[in-house]
């Protein structure tokens, strides 16, 4: 019995150590800096002024609250749309047909693609000097490439959302395919034999079965898109600005005092994501208990 216990402890310790030192160490260090503790420049006081500055000061408040709005909009919209696209793609493809392998390959292709590359690709294709704009003007749909609608670097974040859909749909797709494949078609055939139509089979059989996986994948995608820097940095405008970009600009400031604001903003981003994750867990637990 004791040996078994030791074995568990021994096998859990290395990953736990890494998680604790890297994750909590980093968070703790960031928290200290956000509270104004910066020994490198001789600041040892602990205070909340960096948080106050980010949230309420005349200088940054407007940037912050519009940025938060944009963040929520971009993360919700891209997560939801990517999940929907992936769901339909997976449902369409899971049945065996001649091009299944090819389609599978194409849909999963951009999974290993770095977000940075996808963002640059978006610029090449969708910007006002991009491929589409040039084709459209060559073909005479518009007079000059400049008349092409603004799809990247737009203030509503469409370019960012598009990039995330493009990228995360593949992630959802892989997850959904593995679930659907392991389910097989027995449930559906059963429902069909009981007289359920196509919509009912989707709504009452497939959806409840894939929902848990879809939901946890959504949380991963949401948390990622909420805190990621590179896509909004490349495809965003300077106002409104997503929060990770704003945080990074504090770090670019030559005044080391501004690092406290940068850290405060990063901690705020982390807190918001954590709160959302907790709400999600609470919701799913409640649902499981209900079932």
């Amino acid at each position: 019995m004791g040996g078994e216990r030791l074995k568990i402890i021994l096998s859990l310790t290395p990953p736990l150590l890494i998680i604790i030192t890297l994750f909590f160490g980093g968070i703790l260090y960031g928290l200290l800096q956000s509270l104004g503790y910066q020994p490198a420049i001789g600041k040892y006081d602990i205070n909340f002024s960096a948080y106050y500055n980010v949230l309420f000061s005349e200088r940054y408040a407007r940037m912050f609250w519009t940025g938060l709005g944009l963040n929520l909009w971009v993360s919700f919209a891209s997560t939801f749309l990517a999940a929907v696209f992936a769901l339909f793609a997976a449902l369409a493809i899971r049945k065996t047909f001649f091009a299944k392998t090819i389609c599978n390959f194409i849909y999963s292709l951009n999974l290993p693609m770095p977000h940075l590359v996808v963002a640059v690709g978006m610029i090449f294709v969708f910007s006002q000097s991009g491929l589409l704009a040039r084709f459209a003007s060559q073909l005479g749909f518009i007079n000059s490439p400049g008349e092409f609608p603004v799809l990247v670097r737009d203030k509503y974040g469409f370019g960012i959302i598009l990039a995330y859909i493009w990228k995360e749909a593949a992630f959802f797709f892989i997850i959904l395919m593995s679930v659907l494949q392991s389910l097989g078609e027995n449930f559906e055939e059963l429902a069909q034999s009981l007289g359920a139509n196509k919509w009912q089979r989707f709504r009452y059989v497939i959806l409840p079965l894939v929902m848990p996986n879809l939901f946890s994948a959504s949380i991963i995608v949401f948390a990622f898109s909420f805190g990621a820097y590179e896509v909004p940095a490349l495809l965003g405008v300077i106002y409104p600005q997503m929060l990770p970009v704003m945080a990074f600009e504090f770090f670019l400031n030559p005044d080391l005092n501004a690092r406290s604001e940068g850290m405060a903003l990063s901690i705020i981003i982390a807190l918001i994501v954590m709160i959302l994750v907790i709400i999600y867990f609470w919701l799913t637990q409640a649902k499981i208990r209900k079932d």
């Binding site: 603004v150 670097r153 203030k155 030559p254």
Partner: protein, 416 residues
């Protein structure tokens, strides 16, 4: 007899000078010979932005070879994605308690905000710049040299080369003669060419844009002279509203109607190269030459400058407080100021992008002068007339303006 007195006076004077020089030698060394001796047989770890093959090759060929042959020092050039990486490394080393000669970085190619970060945190070795023998070629009395982005250098970095703000246009699209030569003319040009102009947003990472706006203050207020010296809130408050008014009056005719702005040089170049805007900014005395070679601007791009108020500045070498080979770093910082090597860095054929770090007028030996003249006559047709640039040259102003302009531009132009 007379001759003897002259000789003795000379000897006394030279003794006095050598005393003076040794008093100015970099901390930790008694004389320049001490420095050379300590550097002999060692290595120098040079951390610099590595994004240009031309610059990398220049450093390896023109500095690496003489360092080895003349001083027996091995050059270890470490390429960086951005100078801020080196700054953060020094900062982390400080936080980890790495002191003495136990750091990793001997030299950082640096200026402006990164320099200020390190100087503010007292992470630099020095003052050393005046202790370099070739410091005599540097125009230390020029505020463009002794102030870096308006903040005092205090001998904590030594110059390498220089840059000056001016513009680029594409000769395939526009004519040199039609280019605006002042902000007033630029206003008319923008109105006549709606959607064809934008500027880099003043802000972190976009100091070129801040500089573009700063120069408007100079023109509207009737000249840069009154802005030199300590920060003057009253003067700023008097002119700032007029600057915002001008910038807002442009807005409807800017690229994307001023809804957004490019945030750095790279974005600006790509808008220009893609034909979305007609004007671009450059900092090189060779005008469009370096970006044309690099392919970031169309090969037909050329340079032009306003006739006044074009801000020029210098870039430098700094030595971290915990540099492992301080002596070798000093030898390197001195070497790059050799007149013939300075002439080499201006020669377009050698691929480097920047201008003089020394004052060419201070060079007196024949070989140095010949090299300098040759370089001056060789700048290529992508460069603006050097006389126009020299006439328009003004220095940067107190650092306080920088932050103020960035914050106020955001409040009064971007968010208005």
């Amino acid at each position: 007899m007379k001759f003897k007195i002259k000789f003795i006076t000379l000897a006394i004077i030279s003794l006095f000078f050598s005393k003076l020089v040794s008093a100015e030698t970099a901390p930790g060394f008694g004389s320049w010979d001490d420095v050379l001796k300590a550097a002999d047989g060692g290595q120098v770890n040079v951390y610099m932005w590595g994004g240009s093959d031309a610059i990398n090759g220049f450093v390896d060929d023109f500095y690496g070879v003489p360092l080895k042959e003349k001083y027996n020092i091995t050059l270890n050039r470490v390429p960086l994605a951005g100078t801020v990486d080196a700054v953060n490394q020094v900062l982390s080393e400080k936080e980890a308690g790495v002191t003495g000669d136990n750091g990793n970085i001997d030299l950082i190619w640096i200026n402006g905000e990164n320099f200020w970060t390190l100087k503010q945190a007292q992470l630099l070795y020095g003052p050393f710049a005046a202790g370099l023998p070739n410091s005599k070629f540097v125009a230390w009395d020029n505020p463009a040299v002794n102030l870096d982005f308006g903040r005092p250098v205090d001998g904590m970095e030594s110059p390498w080369s220089s840059a000056q703000f001016h513009f680029m246009y594409d000769s395939a699209r526009n004519n040199y003669d039609d280019m605006p030569r002042s902000y007033a003319e630029l206003s008319d040009w923008i109105a006549a060419n709606p959607g064809r102009f934008t500027y880099i947003r003043p802000g972190k990472g976009g100091f070129v844009g801040t500089r573009f706006v700063k120069q408007i203050f100079f023109e509207l207020s009737g000249g840069q002279e009154q802005w030199v010296g300590p920060f003057n809130q009253e003067l700023y408050d008097k002119w700032a509203p007029k600057v915002w008014e001008l910038l807002n009056s442009w807005e409807k005719n800017l690229w994307r109607s001023g809804e957004t702005y490019p945030k750095d040089n790279a974005e600006m170049h790509s808008l220009f190269a893609n034909g979305e805007v007609d004007l671009d900014f450059t900092q090189s005395p060779r005008g469009a030459g370096p970006t044309n070679t690099a392919g970031t601007t169309p090969p037909t791009s050329r340079a032009f400058a306003f006739y006044d108020n074009m801000i020029g500045d210098f870039n430098y070498w700094a030595i971290p407080y915990n540099a492992p080979n301080k002596a070798a770093a000093l030898v390197y910082a001195n070497l790059v100021l050799e007149p013939e090597l300075q002439a080499a860095q201006v020669q377009p054929a050698n691929g480097f992008c920047c201008g003089w770090g020394i004052s060419t007028a201070k060079v007196t030996d024949a070989a140095g002068k010949a090299a300098i003249n040759d370089a001056q006559n060789n700048l290529g047709d992508a460069a603006e007339d050097q006389n126009i640039l020299a006439k328009a040259l003004v220095s940067d102003i107190a650092a306080e303006y920088q932050d103020l302009i960035e914050a106020d531009w955001e409040a009064n132009v971007l968010l208005k």
